[in-house]
């Protein structure tokens, strides 16, 4: 059986409405992928950067998959939250990114978006915070129901990952 390792860090985020950010992340794979070791979802620390610049999460990622087929190559879906001075969190970005298929080091930038909602929603979220959220998180990484949504661009999330493959040439897979 071929194996894939994903080792690296969820580095940080930048360009959101507030610099005090945290991120909820989840790796999604197809049915032929079996997770042998590692944690495939989690949530980062909340960073309050002193320079009000990029939020640093330095969140470790270390996954080991055994695969029977390459369909369903992993993708990571992200939800970025900001924290205000009262300690309230609100959602400021959704995003997903496919992991690179070639082995080696990859610096990945994931652009994110958030829901715009109606004009009333926008007025409400301007004064009390907390804009609209997705009920079903599956929409983040799938293209099937996107046409219903009205969205606004948000910040960028940075990941740095090493992809290590094992026994791919034994099965004739070129990556």
């Amino acid at each position: 059986m071929a194996e894939v390792h994903i080792i690296g860090n969820l580095d940080g985020g930048e360009g959101f409405s507030s610099p005090n950010l945290s991120c909820k992340w989840c790796f999604e794979t197809g049915g032929a992928w079996r997770l042998l070791e590692g944690v495939k979802d989690g949530q980062t620390q909340v960073d309050h950067p002193i320079d009000e610049g990029r939020a640093h999460w330095a969140h470790p990622i270390d996954l080991h998959y055994a695969i029977k087929g390459i369909q369903g190559w992993p993708k990571v879906s992200l939800q970025v939250f900001s924290e205000d001075i009262y300690g309230r969190t609100q959602l400021v970005g959704y995003g997903f990114v496919h992991l690179p298929t070639s082995p080696g080091f990859h610096e990945i930038e994931c652009p994110t978006w958030q829901l715009a909602g109606t004009a009333l929603d926008q007025v409400q979220s301007y004064f009390v915070g907390n804009g609209p959220q997705l009920i079903n998180d599956d929409v983040i990484a799938s293209g099937s129901d996107r046409y219903r949504l009205q969205t606004i661009a948000s910040g960028t999330v940075y990941l740095s990952l090493y992809i290590v493959t094992r026994n791919f040439n034994k099965f004739g897979i070129e990556s």
Partner: protein, 189 residues
């Protein structure tokens, strides 16, 4: 297959310097953290640097020049070694206060690498804790600095990121390709 899947990783390098504009008199605790399948073959996995003052020019750099030399063996890249740093300084009463935690993954690709580690300190989560820590002059700390290499439990921590540390390292691997692993798209077996 099980017999020849063992591989060795040699890491040499140093904790070069740091950038902490607000502080002076800093030292760092260095540790190498690795997974359950890994075994230390030679070298020290922990160390403490000297206490240094920053340079007097406009760069305001702290230089530690602290060596890292470890060789590890494993059968599985899961739990690839990471470097953990905890930077401490002295406060006005001469007590050790933490100024930053950070971690960085050692590169999986052999060669010479320059790494940048951004540092952060945990913050009090409640106003009462903020007040008592201000009153007593004690900052919140992680019980174990190796916490920063774990994924679990991070969501409950509030941190303030400040400063960064520069690290240079050289990675050599042995038998990782014969174990069937491909770690780089340029090195074909």
């Amino acid at each position: 297959m099980a017999d020849n899947s063992l591989f060795l990783v040699m890491i040499t390098g140093q904790v070069e310097s740091a950038d902490f504009p607000l502080y002076d008199d800093l030292y760092c605790r260095v540790s190498v953290v690795y997974g359950a399948d890994w075994l230390l073959v030679s070298g020290l996995e922990e160390g403490t640097s000297q206490i240094t003052k920053k340079t007097k020019d406009e760069k305001q750099k702290f230089v530690w020049n602290f060596p890292i030399e470890v060789t590890l063996k494993s059968t599985n890249p899961h739990g690839w070694p990471r470097l953990v740093l905890a930077v401490y300084g002295l406060d006005a009463f001469g007590r050790d206060v933490v100024r930053g935690y950070g971690s960085v993954l050692f590169p999986l690709v052999p060669g010479s690498h320059k790494l940048q580690m951004s540092m952060f300190v945990p913050e009090s989560t409640s106003l009462l804790q903020k007040f008592t820590s201000w009153l007593l002059g004690t900052r919140p700390e992680f019980v174990d600095p190796k916490f920063v290499t774990q994924s679990d439990g991070r969501e409950v921590t509030r941190v303030r990121s400040q400063g960064s540390v520069s690290i240079s390292c050289n990675i050599m691997t042995k038998d990782i390709a014969t174990a069937g692993y491909v770690v780089s798209s340029t090195v074909k077996t």
